[in-house]
């Protein structure tokens, strides 16, 4: 196939050529970035929380009146033991927050008491000795809290637990070890809110309370403190149902708690949430963005393909006589077909080249303006491949119609 005649023919159709190339360039730029956003969001929402979510649910309990901290602690312990006695319940624990919840408590951890800036932020989860079993956390070093270590504190009291359990990600941040073992942190002393505490256990993974950007710096760095938080505002009961009995346990939980005491509020709307609901809510905007970008990609590609079909059809119609002449001079149908296919490939390649530049520029702008990550070249290659293929498919039908033009057309005047 000779390229020169195609190029000189294109010179006769500058406007159309430029328009198709531009459309391909813009489509490529948007599709690359949209695919990249989709990938980022999907990666974000499939991050593991480290907990056993299938049969887990949460009760958000608020207290009525103004019970004293000691009364409240006694009530919480009574609630927990009633929940644990339910036949559908495996185990239950209590905390101030939980992974994917959205809000919670985070604090800085220091290696030395007089350190000016904290070594890292970490999510703080209040826990009792049942927390590891309830969440299905994997203890990889050290030990769990003992029942006699669990105390209670009011929401505005100083947080000063003598011992803590931390995640592997946090251990590696605090005490980076050469051989990659998190055990280096075990038994070490750190300072939480400037209060001295000792690391007695390390769990494999436990995501922090929010998946939003503000919490991204300490996404998997969590601390479990051996305390029940007695807050007049809210207590979260985390309940692990027995396999297959999630519904039964969720039905039984509220009546069980109300039987213990009626001086509480469990909201009809979101007082009782299965972890599947928690997860869906935490990631709904990521999921939504992925869907939106997917729709935009499909619409864009469809419109670009339709545009190529439209313009190429017009060109074929315009050149019927020339095609007839070529056919009369001995060109085969194949030659005609490959002429239009090559023509499209040339235009698409030109557009793709421009599109790659545009895609990278657009991404750089998104990086600066919206703190997005840099576009991986893989997505550019995928985008180029999709658009070249799309162009070839779109041009196929008009090109086949062109190939059907009979040599007789050369002798006809319109």
């Amino acid at each position: 196939m000779q390229i020169k005649p195609i190029l000189s023919a294109l010179r006769q159709h500058k406007a159309g050529t430029v328009l198709i190339a531009m459309q391909i360039a813009l489509t490529l730029a948007i599709v690359c970035n949209a695919l990249f956003i989709i990938q980022q969001r999907l990666a974000h929402l499939s991050e593991p929380s480290g907990i056993d979510e299938t049969h887990l649910f949460v009760v958000e309990n608020q207290w009525v009146g103004k019970p004293s901290p000691d009364q409240l602690d006694a009530q919480i312990r009574a609630d927990l033991s009633a929940l644990r006695q339910l036949s559908s319940v495996q185990d239950a624990s209590v905390s101030n927050s939980y992974p994917l919840h959205g809000g919670g408590w985070d604090d800085g951890l220091k290696l030395k008491p007089d350190q000016a800036n904290a070594t890292t932020e970490a999510a703080i989860y209040f826990a009792d000795e049942h927390m590891l079993a309830t969440l299905g956390l994997k203890l990889i070093a050290g030990r769990n809290f003992r029942a006699d270590e669990i105390g209670h504190m009011g929401i505005r009291d100083a947080l000063a637990p003598p011992v803590i359990v931390i995640t592997k990600a946090l251990a590696e941040k605090l005490f980076p070890s050469v051989d990659g073992h998190a055990n280096a942190a075990l038994g070490k002393t750190v300072y939480l809110m400037s209060n001295r505490t000792t690391i007695i256990g390390i769990v494999d993974q436990l995501q922090s309370q929010s998946v939003a950007r503000w919490a991204a710096d300490f996404a998997h760095r969590s601390v479990l403190v051996p305390l029940r938080l007695v807050s007049p505002q809210g207590t979260y009961y985390l309940i692990q149902a027995k396999p297959g009995q999630l519904d039964a346990a969720m039905h039984a939980a509220e009546p069980t708690l109300l039987a213990q005491s009626r001086k509480r509020v469990i909201s009809d709307k979101d007082g009782l949430l299965s972890f599947a609901e928690v997860r869906a809510h935490a990631y709904d905007s990521d999921y939504g963005m992925a869907v939106l970008m997917g729709i935009v990609c499909v619409v864009l590609l469809a419109i670009t393909a339709a545009g190529i079909v439209g313009l190429t059809s017009f060109w074929v119609g315009q050149r019927r006589r020339q095609i007839g002449v070529r056919r009369a001079l001995g060109a085969t149908r194949r030659d005609i077909l490959s002429y239009f296919m090559t023509e499209n490939l040339l235009i698409s390649s030109g557009g793709a080249l421009l599109g790659v530049l545009l895609a990278v520029t657009m991404n750089l702008w998104l990086v600066i303006r919206f703190e997005m990550q840099h576009l991986s070249l893989l997505y550019v290659f995928i985008g180029v491949a999709i658009l070249l293929l799309l162009g070839q498919c779109a041009v196929l039908a008009p090109a086949m119609r062109a190939a059907q033009v009979s040599p007789v057309e050369a002798t006809r005047t319109v």
């Binding site: 949209a34 509020v265 709904d284 905007s285 545009g307």
Partner: protein, 438 residues
């Protein structure tokens, strides 16, 4: 002439239905995607109190010093209790209020009903006139009530319906966190988005409005804990809520009404002199680092418009541009296909102006059809924004006449713009060539 051109355009469009449908679809989709995302963007980027937002100011005072500052060197968004009370007592603005978020539980009068939990704020009486809060019944409370820590409450219309059947409940009593409060006012519909008066400790957008407002000093005296964000630089020394009030933790929001730029700069001077006093007293060990921003500046600095909303709008506009480029190409093909017809018209004496009129009317017709489709799709899009955006943001997107109007204008305007180049080319067709080739 217009009728004739309309007729010509209609014939031309019917001659190649495939191409016409393609253009209409492209315009419709492009416009609908842009307008749907715009409806969300418009909702979240609006000014919640346009008539006085530039007179409402949020003071910030640095209680932590250089080592406690964020990387941008700014003081925290909220105030410590100590500083908020000092500002309140100095009373330098026309109207002002310190405030903190609460979420008390309410026990209904009728036995057997479950208690409920509501969100609200502890504020000063000046809060209501300052923010032009609408009242259905009654009003806010007086400075005297503030001073005497009166157990009074302003409730929302919705809470009034739930607890008092929607009747005028002024004077009736409401049991909150175990104490009785007298209702002094019932608010009309009031849930400004974003919740500009307390961005420091509320989510920016809230589908549900606030239920109760009580006097600030009453909340403190009754020990009603704050339920908003609390940021501490160092551990609190005392225990409980009292300890928090004595600490350097920031948890109190503040808003002041300053009528003129002169008043604002006076207030800035006051803040600086206050910080210097604290420095001299040995409480601050650093030079004054204060800020006083008006509401639009605060909204901007807090980045209230979610970046997802912006990115969606930009991508949708990109889609519209591609659709338009596509339409330019298709119209070019469509118009130039009729070169011989154009040649005949020109040869018979039609001026270029007539061709412009004819082809732009055709483009306008395509635009109008695209706009009609765009209206339908925008309607469907706005209904289903909940699938893509968070519920509290999606709930703000509204389909109204202005949105419909913009959709139509955008569709027709954009298509006319897209039609300019093809029309220019069509009008340049040389009659002699066309006639010769026939």
């Amino acid at each position: 002439m217009f009728d004739y051109y309309l007729d010509l355009a209609w014939r031309s469009l019917r001659r190649s239905p495939g191409l016409t449908v393609l253009m209409v679809l492209a315009i419709g989709f492009g416009v609908a995607a842009s307008m749907t995302t715009y409806s969300v963007f418009r909702a979240v980027s609006g000014d919640p109190i346009p008539w006085k937002s530039s007179k409402l100011f949020v003071p910030q005072i640095d209680p932590w010093g250089p080592s406690g500052r964020a990387s941008d060197g700014e003081p925290p968004d909220a105030l410590t209790y100590t500083d908020a009370m000092a500002l309140m007592h100095a009373h330098r603005a026309k109207l002002q209020s310190a405030m903190y978020r609460i979420s008390p539980s309410l026990v209904p009068e009728q036995t057997g009903q479950h208690p409920i939990n509501v969100s609200g704020h502890a504020v000063y009486g000046e809060f209501f006139p300052m923010l032009d809060v609408p009242f259905l019944y009654g009003a806010g409370w007086s400075a005297d009530d503030d001073a005497h820590q009166a157990p009074v409450v302003v409730i929302s219309g919705e809470l009034n319906r739930k607890f008092f059947g929607g009747a005028n409940s002024v004077g009736r009593s409401l049991s909150m966190d175990g104490k009785d409060y007298r209702v002094v006012g019932v608010m009309g519909d009031w849930n400004p988005q974003p919740r500009f008066y307390d961005l420091a400790s509320s989510a920016n957008f809230n589908a549900i409005g606030e239920g109760v407002f009580i006097p600030f000093e009453r909340g403190i005296a009754a020990g009603i804990y704050n339920s908003g964000n609390t940021n501490c630089y160092e551990p609190t020394k005392g225990a409980g809520f009292i300890g928090l009030q004595q600490s350097s933790c920031t948890w109190v929001s503040y808003m002041a009404l300053l009528d003129s730029s002169a008043a604002a700069s006076q207030y800035r001077q006051y803040l600086d002199s206050y910080a210097r006093e604290q420095q001299q007293a040995g409480r601050f060990h650093w030079a004054p680092n204060n800020l006083l921003r008006d509401v639009p500046a605060v909204l901007d600095h807090q980045g209230v418009v979610p970046s997802d909303t912006r990115i969606s709008l930009l991508v949708a506009l990109g889609l519209l541009v591609v659709c338009l480029v596509n339409t330019v190409g298709l119209m070019l093909a469509k118009f130039l296909r009729r070169s011989s017809e154009i040649g005949v018209r020109r040869a018979l004496g039609a001026p270029r102006r007539a061709l412009y009129a004819q082809f732009l009317i055709e483009a306008g017709l395509i635009g109008a059809a695209g706009g009609a489709l765009g209206l339908l799709l925008t309607g469907a899009g706005v209904m289903s924004v909940g699938l893509v955006f968070r519920p509290e943001i999606a709930a703000l997107a509204r389909l109204d006449w202005s949105l419909l109007g913009i959709t139509m204008v955008l569709a027709v305007g954009a298509t006319l713009l897209a039609g300019l180049y093809p029309t220019f080319r069509a009008a340049r067709v040389q009659p002699a060539w066309q006639l010769k080739s026939n």
